[in-house]
Symmetry: C2
Subunit: 454 residues, 2 copies
C-alpha cells in the first residue's frame, strides 16, 4: 500500500479525496485525511476502508512530522501561508508534495533541496493557477512546435453561478472566498501589454475598462484586468509577445455596478470605520456620502452616482437592502471592505442545491509562414451541488491526479515547480476530460488590436 | 553674546536669518548659519558682522556636536527626517531647539529628557503646522474663556500664486515642494466629522468633494479635505466637537481639473513605469489610455474624460503641452507621479519676480448662553519676490520669533511641544502682525451644516 497524507479538509478536498478513494483498491492507496477539526476529516473519510481521519494542527510539529514520515506523498490543501511548515518536513523526510497554491518565496527557496533529494514539489495545480497554466501551455507549445511565433496571449477565468441558478440582478454569487472578491484588484495599478505598449489602469478605473468575451452556449461575459498580467511572461517564454493580458470574468454589467462600491470607497480594506459594530447598513452607506440635514441617504447616493431611480444600477443596490436602517453590521473595528462583504453575503451566498460554474477563456494570436492566426479556447465546468462544486472539481481533481501520477512515477522531474511542461499537462488535461473538464478550440482570423491593418 | 546655530540654509531660512540679524546688535546675537553646501550658508550670512557661515553635514557627528555645544539655541531648518540627529545632541549638550516640522515619534520620545533638563523643544511653529495652531487656539481659548462650547472647527490653508501673477488656466503654480502637491491626499481615505457623523472620502473622490470659501478682497477659493482632519482633535481639546474638518485651499476649478490626473492614474507614486526615461509626454499620457490602432491620444483622452474639445478642462491640459511627442520626460525608473511632476514643472514654476501667496481660513462654530454663533477668521500673506516669499515669511518668522523668545526666557516651559498655549501664541501672533501676517475676524450667524434647523 502507498500512503497519501492529505492535510486540510476544506471545500476543495472532498472531490480530491473522492477521486483517490475510488482508485484506492486498484492503486493500492491508503489515505490519511488530516484537519485541525477532526470532524471535517471524518466527514471526508466516508468510513472508507482505505481512509482514516486524524486531528492535525499544522503548528504542532510532533504530530505533523510523524504523519509526514508515514506518508509516501503529501497533499497540502491548507491556506497557502501554511504550506511551508509541511514543505520543510517533506524535504527533511524526503517526501513528494502537491499544492494548488502560488509558489511563495519560501517555497521557491526549497527548490535546490528538492532537486538534490529527487523530490517533486508540484504547486499551482488547481484551477487558477493550475488548469489555466496547463491548457495555455498546451496550445502555446503546439503553436511553437509548428514553427509559429506568439503575438498575443489573453487569458480569462471566472468563478460564477451556474446559469440555472443565476437569478439575481448582479448575475453573481459568492462561490469561493468572498473576501478575495471584495478586495479584487487592490494594491496597485493593473499592468499589461497591448501591441507592444505597456498599459496601466488605476484601481478606481479597473471596473470601467472591461472586455467582452462570448462563450458558445453560455452567452456573453466581461473581464477586468488582473493586477499583474505579466507575471508568467518569462515562465511561459513570452518575453517578446506584443499583447499579454490576464483578466477575471464576470457576467456583463457586474463590473459597472461593482464600480459604484469602488467609487464610494466601500471596498477599502486599509482602515477601520469608527463605531462599525453599531452601524446599520444605512449608516455604512451614509459614511461615504456628504452630510445633509435634509436630503435622504437614497437621494444623496443617486446624486453622487449620477443615476436615476429607474436605472438598473439603482435596482441592483436596492436588491442588496443597502439602505436598511435596522439591519446591523455587527462587526467590531471593521474595514469598509469587511462591512461590505457582510452586506453582500446576505444576498450572494449560494443556497442549498444551487450550483456554481467555472469559465475559462484563452486567446492565442500567432504568426506562421507569414500569416497571422488566432486560436480561441474555452472551458466551462458546472457544479453538481454543494459538495461537487465546479470550484472543488477544478481545484481538487488536478491536484489528485498529479499526486497519483507522482506516486506512480509518471511525473518525476524533481524540484519546486508548476505544471507547464508537456509531460505533466498532457496526461492531466486528458484525464480531466473524463470528468467533463474539457477545452473547446476554434480557429479564427487574427483579430488582435489592429484588425484594420490586416 | 548669545549664539544661535541655524542648520539648513533652505528656502525659508533667509527670512528667518534676516529677522535675527536685524535684531542681532540690540539683542546681542551671534548667528552661525550651517549648511551642507557652504555657498548656501554664505549667501544667507550677508557678510553681516554678527553672522558666520560654515559647512556642516548633519551626518558628521564631530562637526555637528561641536557646533551644537557652541550654541545657546539650535534652529533646525533641515528636512524633517534629519531633525532627530540634531535633537539628540541638544539633549546631550542641554540646548534648546526649534523646528517648523511635525513632531515625529522619535522626537516625541525625547520629551522626558527635555523636561528633565529644562529644555524647550518647540516644533510645528512654521505656517502649517504653526500659524494654523496658534491662530486657531487663540480663538478657541477665547470662546472657552467666555463660557462657550465648541460645535464646529474647520481650518483651511493654501500655498498659491499671488493674484497679480495668477496667469495660467489652473490658477496655480508651485510655491513649495512640488512632490507634495502631486501626491497630496494619497495613502488612505480622508476622514473627518460632520455634525457628529464620521465621513470618509476615498482618494479618487477627494478632488470632487470640495467646499467653497470666500475671502474678502481675494475672491473665492475651494478646499479639499486633508487626509486626517482628526489629528489635533484631542490636542486642541475638541473631543466632543460635532464638526471637525481640515482642508487644502486652491482657486476654484483646480480640483476638478486635477481630478483628471487622479482618474487617469497619473498621480500614482507606488510603481515605476516601464521605459520611463525614453518616453515623451505623449507616451506618458498614452500609457493610461486603451490601445487603439487608429484613434489619436487626444481623442482617447477626451473620450475617457468625457469632455469635448471646447471644454475648459481640455484647454487646461493643452496648456501643459501634455500631448507633445517630442518632449522627453528623461527620468529613469520613474513613477507616474514623478513623471507628472516633471511635466507640470515646465508650466507651474514661478518665474523671476513672480510672487506667491499663503491663505488661511478658520471657521469656529460655538454655543454660548443657548445661542449658536460663528467666527470666521482669515489671513492672506503675499510674497515680496523670490527671497521674501509668503511661504518663507510665514514659516521663517514664527520660527525666528520663537527662538528669540526662548533665548530671552519669554518661552520657558520645557519639553517637546507645539505652540498651542496662550503664553506662546499670544506674543508671536502679535509680533507677526508687524510683518503683515494678520488675521481678520468676522462674526456670522452659525451656519454649520444645519442652517434650516435654526
Amino acid at each position: 500500500m502507498r500512503h497519501i497524507l492529505v492535510i486540510g479538509a476544506g471545500k476543495s478536498t472532498g472531490v480530491l479525496v473522492d477521486y483517490l478513494l475510488k482508485k484506492s483498491s486498484k492503486e493500492n492507496l491508503k489515505l490519511t485525511i488530516a484537519d485541525k477539526n477532526l470532524e471535517n476529516a471524518i466527514a471526508l473519510s466516508q468510513n472508507h476502508e482505505n481512509a482514516r481521519a486524524i486531528q492535525l494542527d499544522v503548528f504542532n510539529p510532533e504530530v505533523r512530522e510523524k504523519q509526514v514520515q508515514l506518508a509516501d506523498i503529501v497533499i497540502s490543501m491548507l491556506p497557502a501561508r501554511f504550506h511551508i511548515e509541511v514543505a520543510r518536513d517533506c524535504v527533511r523526510f524526503k517526501k513528494n508534495m502537491v499544492t494548488a497554491s502560488y509558489v511563495s518565496e519560501q517555497m521557491q527557496e526549497l527548490h535546490e533541496d528538492a532537486v538534490k533529494n529527487g523530490l517533486v514539489f508540484m504547486n499551482e495545480i488547481g484551477v487558477d493557477p493550475g488548469i489555466d497554466h496547463m491548457s495555455a501551455m498546451q496550445v502555446i507549445d503546439r503553436i511553437r512546435e509548428r514553427g509559429g511565433k506568439m503575438l498575443l496571449f489573453e487569458s480569462f477565468t471566472g468563478g460564477l453561478v451556474a446559469p440555472e441558478d443565476d437569478n439575481n440582478l448582479w448575475n453573481y454569487k459568492f462561490t469561493w472566498n468572498p473576501r478575495n472578491v471584495v478586495t479584487a484588484g487592490q494594491g496597485g495599478a493593473a499592468k499589461f501589454i497591448q501591441e507592444g505598449q505597456y498599459k496601466y489602469i488605476p484601481y478606481h478605473k479597473l471596473f470601467r475598462r472591461t472586455e467582452f468575451i462570448d462563450v458558445k452556449g453560455y452567452g456573453r461575459f466581461e473581464a477586468y484586468a488582473n493586477r499583474n498580467s505579466l507575471k508568467y511572461r518569462s515562465v511561459y517564454g513570452l518575453n517578446d509577445i506584443l499583447t499579454l493580458y490576464r483578466g477575471t470574468m464576470r457576467r456583463v454589467g457586474f463590473s459597472k455596478a461593482w464600480n459604484m462600491f469602488v467609487q464610494l470607497g466601500m471596498t477599502d480594506d486599509t482602515y477601520a470605520i469608527e463605531g462599525s459594530q453599531d452601524m446599520s447598513y444605512r449608516d455604512f452607506v451614509n459614511s461615504f456620502l456628504p452630510y445633509s440635514p435634509t436630503d435622504s441617504v437614497e437621494l444623496k447616493m443617486r446624486h453622487v452616482l449620477k443615476i436615476d431611480q429607474d436605472d438598473i444600477m439603482w435596482d441592483k443596490l436596492m436588491e442588496l437592502d443597502l439602505f436598511n436602517a435596522h439591519k446591523k453590521i455587527g462587526l467590531v473595528d471593521a474595514t469598509p471592505a469587511q462591512m461590505l462583504q457582510k452586506i453582500l453575503e446576505d444576498s450572494w451566498t449560494l443556497k442549498e442545491g444551487e450550483k456554481d460554474m467555472i469559465v475559462m477563456y484563452h486567446k492565442f494570436g500567432y504568426e506562421i509562414n507569414g500569416e497571422r492566426k488566432q486560436i480561441d479556447s474555452s472551458m466551462v465546468c458546472l457544479g453538481d451541488g454543494m459538495l461537487q462544486t465546479a470550484m472543488a472539481k477544478t481545484v481538487g481533481l488536478p491536484v489528485a491526479m498529479a499526486a497519483l501520477k507522482i506516486l506512480n512515477g509518471a511525473i518525476k522531474e524533481p524540484g519546486v515547480q508548476i505544471p507547464i511542461k508537456a509531460s505533466i499537462y498532457n496526461p492531466i488535461l486528458e484525464e480531466l476530460e473524463d470528468y467533463g473538464i474539457r477545452f473547446r478550440e476554434s480557429e479564427t482570423p487574427y483579430l488582435g488590436y489592429n484588425p484594420l491593418s490586416l
